[in-house]
């Protein structure tokens, strides 16, 4: 009996040791080796942020590969994790916002926009107290949105952080009292940036041509904060409904039993045409573009998904 116990104990200790060594090797060797493998930009699909599991002060930049794998590229302190749009990935570069020197009560804090390539080389692109950004698909231009004395201004910089032009809100709006812009998107050829104006007496969208910095303004009767807004820069078109913007859940609940008609629209800013896609009784549609000419939305009357062809 004693002999059996000794043998079993020895076997268990050997197995336990093997597992422990395996875990040690995995964490100390495999992961670090994985980190150090150069990443091929063609294999990267997107990038996102996650809190580091061992150090809550650090944030990981996670690459989503086209084959479905994920890998941690690098971890940093100070990444502005709580920003609604803190990271983008374009053409082999990651763009992130860091919040620096934020102690809660000091006034000398800044937000910084950084570009990080897949070899982890960092370039500081811009800094301001509070910023938002949108990078063009080719990575050659970036629109930075910041405030100047409580009013938005757009700063167009190139892919190395050099200034092209600053656009004051007066250049972008048809309402002289407007204060705030709303980012829409870049065209896929990186030539045009589209944005809009919100909380204005006369909302509009605008298009900035990066060739000559010309700004085109288009009146928009909808609200860019609407639940059903989806924009397609290549089609110069927006889908939206007149479902109201609600900040109060009880108000939305009351609206749902109001019987009020809601209409889903397609508006083309170049041709200045508005088409009705569908209507509902007090329900929204959750539309999204699935190609330059197709919009998928939920038909509230049946609950099923429908596709609307803009050329039909």
């Amino acid at each position: 009996m004693n002999k059996i116990i000794r043998i079993l104990s020895a076997l268990f200790v050997i197995c336990f040791s093997a597992v422990a060594v395996g875990i040690f090797v995995y964490f100390s060797f495999f992961l670090t080796t994985q980190k150090s493998i150069p990443v091929n930009a063609n294999l990267v699909f997107s990038a996102s942020l996650q809190k580091n599991i061992t150090d809550s002060n650090m944030t990981d930049i996670v690459l989503q590969m086209k084959n479905g794998e994920t890998r941690i590229l690098v971890s940093y302190p100070n990444i502005y994790f709580d920003h609604y749009h803190a990271i983008e990935y374009h053409a082999g570069n990651i763009y992130i916002i860091k919040r620096i020197n934020n102690k809660g009560t000091n006034s000398d804090w800044t937000d910084e926009l950084w570009k990080i390539d897949l070899n982890k080389h960092e370039t500081k692109m811009f800094s301001a107290q509070g910023l938002d950004f949108r990078t063009s698909p080719d990575g050659g231009k970036i629109i930075v949105i910041k405030q100047n004395q409580g009013v938005d201004e757009l700063v167009l910089i190139d892919g190395s952080g050099s200034l092209f032009k600053v656009f004051s809100i007066d250049e972008l709006t048809i309402d002289p009292k407007a204060t705030t812009t709303y980012p829409l998107s870049w065209s896929s050829d990186s030539k045009y940036y589209w944005g809009g104006i919100i909380h204005s007496l006369s909302n509009n969208v605008f298009k900035i041509s990066t060739n000559d910095f010309f700004v085109s303004k288009y009146q928009f009767k909808g609200d860019l904060l609407n639940h059903d807004v989806t924009f397609n820069a290549d089609a110069s078109s927006i889908v939206y409904s007149d479902y109201p913007v609600f900040y109060d859940a009880d108000e939305a609940s009351a609206f749902s039993i109001s019987g009020i008609k809601v209409t889903l629209y397609l508006e083309n800013f170049i041709t200045e045409t508005i088409k009705t896609i569908n209507t509902s009784v007090a329900k929204y549609f959750q539309p999204q573009w699935i190609s330059e000419t197709e919009i998928q939305y939920v038909d509230p009357n049946t609950g099923s998904k429908k596709i609307y062809n803009t050329e039909a």
């Binding site: 709580d82 900040y247 009880d250």
Partner: protein
């Protein structure tokens, strides 16, 4: 090593392997079951929609009634004035934080007027910890973003819950008419006004004898006060 010691070690390791470490740790106490207040929207939502001129006219009528009852003690330059700390929804410190559960790309900056108006009233009551980002992230009873409804874009305030900070019930009056604004200000209570059909919320804090004045969360610190504007669609007062 003695056989007994070796055997004990073996049994311990085996137990850990079979049962797992979790069961040997103290489990956190389950979240307390809380009774969440509810509101029947059909009973309480207003259909008022009166102009700023009419709201101010009602204020003047209330002031005349008040003066008819005897001398009125007014703050310098104001008929009524309730000091309310100001927050801007567009303060760069927090304007880019996702609003509530963060769906649909909305932020405190773009859509946090109601949240910020409530935070101003909490600050008036002394709850300065309930600033806009703190109230936005407030967890209670094991529920994240307690003040927000988690359906739709996850960015709509659940008013009865939002008024429970930091976990207590308090008196409140939902969506009353413009004729009652004056009496709340008289009692030192600011009024959250739902304006322009619910498209915006501001805090009414003063009456200058002719017009009501608001703290507008859309504005920055230098432009925080402005005369009441837009259409009035209901008042909210709480914490009295």
């Amino acid at each position: 090593m003695s056989k007994k010691l070796l055997f004990s070690l073996f049994v311990s390791i085996a137990l850990v392997a079979v049962i797992g470490c979790d069961s040997l740790q103290d489990k956190p106490a389950s979240n307390p079951v809380i009774s969440e207040p509810t509101l029947n929207p059909a009973d309480t939502l207003p259909n008022i929609n009166i102009s700023a001129d009419s709201v101010n006219a009602l204020g003047r009528v209330a002031m005349m009634d008040d003066m008819g009852r005897g001398p009125v003690k007014a703050a310098a330059g104001w008929q009524l004035y309730v000091p309310v700390p100001f927050y801007s929804q567009r303060d760069p410190h927090w304007s880019s934080k996702p609003l509530g559960f963060g769906g649909c790309g909305t932020t405190i900056g773009s859509a946090g007027c109601f949240l910020t108006s409530i935070a101003m009233c909490y600050a008036k009551m002394g709850y300065s910890a309930a600033n806009p980002p703190a109230l936005n992230d407030w967890s209670y009873g094991g529920r994240a973003h307690y003040a927000f409804y988690d359906g739709g874009c996850g960015n709509m305030i659940r008013l009865p819950q939002a008024l429970q900070y930091p976990g207590m019930s308090r008196n409140c009056h939902y969506w009353f008419g413009a004729d009652q604004i004056y009496s709340y200000l008289q009692r030192g209570i600011p009024v959250i006004a739902r304006i322009n059909g619910g498209a915006h919320y501001v805090v009414i804090f003063a009456f200058d004898g002719n017009r009501y004045w608001v703290k507008d969360p859309w504005n920055d610190w230098t432009n925080q006060d402005r005369p009441f504007y837009g259409s009035f669609d209901g008042g909210l007062a709480f914490g009295f």
